[in-house]
């Protein structure tokens, strides 16, 4: 049976491996790597509330709230060496309503990186940690409106998108609202859905990240939320206006796979 103990063991083994990779870097000379999450809808920039978009099911919608967790960032050089950002510095909450949150900034050793790996969501291990290790964006005290934590079923909401669609049925507040709150880290004592998704983005075509002191390398990613509707499952707002902790959420999470692409890299001097 898959238990948290096995997971801990796996993570322990994994981190050992990663540590040995990290030794090839000179830890003394770290510089900033910025990863920008630019939320778009197909060919359009995402505009909260005012933008109107259409999904593959032919439903028109607008987005009133979009926020998601990015965590566990690692970068890889052409020679295959991997640097994993210390986990405590590797949790970011990207909020469309707050432009300053679109950049996930981490310190990595100087070097040229050809690939970037991150998680959409919060890993299982952190999801079960003592409250003293849940600071900043992981503080489980978020409110019901924009909070990213389920109190009744301890766990983080990885991805939260809400909006209006005339195809959504009228809810008790009189609005035609859709609400997608996607989470699920696999369960603590009993296994359940796991919607944690890992992404690896190749930077060669769009520009490698040249991380050096005195300059800031910004990897500009596009996060296309139309993919959340249009992927291996074509999600209909009319049929699924509210998706939270349920079996259907797995289909939405699987659609995340097409969401991120590398647009370009800015290796700017400061």
């Amino acid at each position: 049976m898959f238990t948290i103990q096995t997971l801990l063991l796996l993570l322990a083994l994994q981190s050992c491996k990663k540590d040995s990779n990290n030794t090839s870097f000179n830890e003394g000379t770290k510089a900033t790597l910025s990863i920008e999450f630019d939320n778009i809808v197909g060919g359009q920039n995402l505009q909260l509330n005012t933008g109107s978009y259409t999904n593959a099911s032919g439903e028109t919608f607008s987005v009133s709230l979009l926020q998601y967790f990015i965590s566990n960032i690692s970068v890889k050089k052409a020679d295959g060496t991997v640097y994993t950002v210390p986990q405590d510095s590797s949790y970011f909450l990207i909020k469309e309503s707050d432009p300053t949150t679109r950049f996930a900034k981490v310190k990595v050793p100087e070097g040229e990186y050809t690939s970037l790996t991150f998680t959409l969501g919060v890993d299982s291990l952190r999801s079960t940690k003592d409250i003293s290790e849940r600071k900043g964006v992981l503080d489980p005290s978020g409110g019901m409106e924009d909070g990213m934590y389920w109190g009744w079923n301890s766990g983080y909401i990885f991805f939260k998108m809400e909006g209006i669609s005339q195809q959504a049925p009228v809810d008790p507040t009189g609005q035609n609202k859709f609400r997608y709150h996607i989470g699920g880290f696999g369960g603590y004592s009993a296994p359940t859905i796991n919607n944690i998704k890992s992404f690896t983005v190749d930077l060669n075509a769009g520009g490698v990240a040249k991380v050096r002191s005195g300059r800031e390398s910004n990897v500009h990613l596009m996060a296309d939320i139309s993919k959340v509707f249009n992927g291996s499952t074509s999600v209909s707002i009319a049929a699924n206006p509210t998706v939270m902790f349920s079996a259907y959420s797995v289909h939405i999470a699987n659609n995340f796979s097409g969401m991120f692409r590398h647009d370009h890299t800015e290796n700017q001097h400061l």
């Binding site: 005290s141 409110g143 369960g187 859905i193």
Partner: protein
Amino acid sequence: MKRKHLIVIGMLAGGIACSKHVIDSFGGFKKPANFPEANYHFNTNEITQAKFELGRKLFYEPRLSRDNTVSCGGCHIQSAGFTHHGHDVSHGIDDRLGKRNSPPIMNLAWGKTFFWDGGVFDLDLQPIVPITNPVEMDETMENVLSKLRNHPDYPGLFNKAFGSSDINTERVMKALSQFMVMLVSANSKYDSVMRNQGATFTADEKQGYELFKTHCGSCHKEPLFTDESFRDNGIGAGPNNDEGRYLVTLNESDKYKFKVPSLRNISYTAPYMHDGRFITIEAVLEHYVGHVKNTPNLDPLLKQGTVPGISLTSAEQSKIIMFLRTLNDKDFISDKRFSEQ
């Protein structure tokens, strides 16, 4: 004059004795001799008197609710074994009704999961639920923290407990946990018998105990009187179709399962079941004897005979109830350390 002096000296001595008594009476967390090791992570939240007292103050603090009217202690009343006595489901803020019966807060240090569906696996994360639940306290943690920071007493109390006046989620939760894990109920007649402290069961209680062990004890496992498992006991879905454990695991085989509740303090904690549908303990026994529904996930232990349920004569049921009453712990429901100060 001399007499006056004596009185003053007497008063001073009394004062010293009192404060000494208070210090001595706080023994921290003590595992009862007949209990297993606790499950709570004391290593990350070591019990101290200042933290416990802060937790107690927070437990009885109505500022944890949106309009400062509802405290934890409002639905978890000490004299009712820290339940909401007389309420099938609890009413919270604006008298809004919840969907489940308020469970007793006792022996949580041995709890592996919390709530009827076990959705919370760490006691430190538990209070967030009632605080933010729209039908309970309907407040945000952000507002709670801001109310506490602006209160004349709390910054000082947090300083005393944690070494600085910072008030954050972690500290509020850890203080509340300290109060909750200290709520140990282990001074019932049953405990006294088990620990050979002088009490003895009557003949009926003794027979009731034997019947209990045969028919009830595998789920209501001694000495906590729960095995912490989730089971469908065949009461059937209520009007709100609460699917219980399924909501947490999304596993079909968990539908309509709820956590086996402890039976300690049973006389103080009516009504019974996750939705409080049984008002008397007699009605609970009657359910198990004659009204168990053969639901898809009915617990196998209730399917051993030709008809679902447990076969007990009415005399046997009475004896089991007599035994269950030995689980009442008067000390616990009257312990001043656990009361609002």
